[in-house]
Amino acid sequence: MVLLAFRIAFRFLRASRTQTLLILLGITSGVAIQIFLSSLITGLQANLIERTVGDAPHIIVIPRVQEPTSTVRERGALVLSTFGSPVQEEAKILSWQSTEAKLAQREDITVASPLVEGPGSIEKGDLVRSVVLRGVLFDRADRIYELRERTVEGIPGIGGNTILIGKDLAQDLRLAPGDIVRIATPQGNEGTFIVNGIFDLENATINASWVFLDIVPAWALLNLEGAISSIEIQIADVFAAERIAREIEREIPQYPIETWQKRNAQLLSALRSQSLSSYLIQVFILIAVTLGIASVLVVSVTQRIREIGILKAIGMTNFGISLVFLIQGGILGLAGSASGAAFGLLLVRFFQQVAARSGGAIPFSITTNFTAALTIVAISGAASTLAALSPARQAVRLLPIEVIRNG
């Protein structure tokens, strides 16, 4: 019976060639668009996330804000606050080496880079600009910010009294590698530094305000003496950040942890709504394809009332008759979505080549998402079979005597 249902389904489809071809074309284009769209969105988002967090820390260990405990400054001088409030200490991580050692044991962490950060001003001649001083261990920071690659002028490296400054700051102060500047901090410390190189982190604010220097002079300038402001962490899988952050939090409960997701909530919600609209489009394409198949099969039932009637009269069961139409739906769905998948992957390939040849005009490439393609093919196939349910029921309801009586 099943074999016969297959045979009849095939013959029916072959007999109404034009209808079959048209609906196959419809399914093909629907599925191709679905696959291309999903690949495009996936590629676009991956690219956007890479650009956002690729050269930035994924997880940051920050110090807990200190509750004011005394009115005595560190240095020992007793100062009564003018406004009567107790002295608030700079938040910092004191025992960072042990914390770092714990982090180093985790295999999913690519790099953990200690950071000594604070405000300062940079002077060249009469020009003064306020900057963010970032004292780092160069090799570690390089693995997060890719400073070597991103140094556009001069030598990528810091140590002793050499620094790296941003492109916009350099322009503003007319600084070139080799120039000497003075850096002062609100703590009242100052020092003379040599500009070693100029970096471009593709972010105007950062390029105008960040100054990378070695961790040792940063301690001196910011009065931090061996403590650090935070530990910046990069991990292999950016989307595991929340999970890893929770695990780190359990290991070092004394420090709060921040993830890139928390810091880029807006980007993430934009990505989510983008995904949502892409899903919505795909759902509507799926509905259109399904309705197309259903309507073709309903017409096929109407056209073949007599044949269905006689098949039932000579003993084909309702199960067999429904199978004929379900199989037709399945064949249309599978063949259509298979050719749609091939066509969609071709579209993706085409886009990749156009993007590669565009010379950066299309600043991202898309990857073929085989899992998504398979999912789409499976869903379309299933939907097509479901689309055949209503025509199949129509065929089941048909009474052979009605057909025979009415000729």
């Binding site: 016969l4 045979r7 000579i314 067999g320 005597i401 000729g407």
Partner: protein, 275 residues
């Protein structure tokens, strides 16, 4: 005693739920194995409905139907379908062949429905049946390329494929010209004799009916006349058919007071126990 292929017990058929139309009244009837029975009657007399009930295509509103000893009332839809496939062969006014399949494949379809494979023996049988109906050369032709008479002959071969116990024919020559119709009837007669198959044929054509072993005429849903043409002779048989009066008594009784419902106590005995 002869084996009975068909036994009907007080079969009634009412169409419609709001406006009820009764088309068959208390039909009680037996058809012995191997008999060729012609059902005749004016249009609307219920002969096709009766044939469909015997053919397990329709169910009676009340009464029992036994075919080949099986009580059809007990069967569900799918069981009925399997029963039709296994025991019955149909020839309709229109052939209803599947144009998507070749002649040979159309003949094989009942076998496929039964779940059979396309073995060499099966194909040989189908080819033999096609040859028997004179279409051995058209086995691999498309149905659309055959003439009306040829198509009806393919339908006969298809009806015979599963070696049915009972052949049901509803105006099998209705859509054919006289000459072709004649050939088809001859063929049916020959095949029936050859296999000893019971056959019930609905026709409005008396000449066709006179070829049968037995003729039953229905009038307004009741059995009215019964004739055995070979026993009484064709002239006498034709005369009985011409006559106005019914020769089955209780049907005649009921004809005069028009339309008593079968449930309001009727005097119906088994109408035709004359074998």
């Amino acid at each position: 005693m002869d084996k009975h292929t068909v036994v009907l017990e007080r079969v009634n058929k009412v169409y419609g739920t709001v406006v009820k139309t009764q088309v068959l009244f208390d039909i009680t009837l037996t058809v012995p194995e191997g008999q060729f029975l012609a059902l005749i009657g004016p249009s609307g007399s219920g002969k096709t409905t009766l044939l469909n009930i015997i053919g397990a295509l329709d169910r009676p509103t009340s009464g029992e139907v036994f075919i080949e000893g099986k009580r059809l009332n007990d069967f569900g839809e799918e069981e009925l379908a399997r029963f039709r496939n296994r025991f019955l062969g149909y020839i309709f006014q229109f052939h209803y062949l599947l144009p998507e399949f070749t002649t040979l494949e159309n003949v094989l379809i009942p076998h496929w429905i039964a779940g059979g494979k396309r073995t060499r023996e099966v194909e040989k049988r189908a080819l033999y049946l096609l040859e028997r109906v004179g279409l051995g050369g058209a086995a691999h032709k498309r149905i659309a390329l055959l003439s009306g008479g040829q198509q009806q002959r393919v339908a006969i071969a298809r009806a015979l494929m599963n070696a049915p116990k009972l052949l049901l024919a509803d105006e099998p020559t209705g859509a054919l010209d006289t000459k072709t119709g004649e050939q088809v009837l001859e063929l049916l007669g020959d095949i029936r004799k050859e296999y000893g198959t019971t056959m019930i044929m609905v026709t409005h054509n008396r000449d066709v009916a006179l070829r049968a072993d037995r003729i039953l005429e229905l009038v307004d849903g009741r059995l009215c006349k019964e004739v055995y043409p070979q026993r009484v002779g064709l002239t006498e048989a034709a005369a009985i058919l011409e006559a106005y009066e019914c020769n089955i008594e209780d049907a005649a009784n009921e004809l005069t007071p028009k339309g008593p419902s079968p449930s309001t106590g009727n005097l119906h005995k088994r109408g035709s126990k004359n074998f």
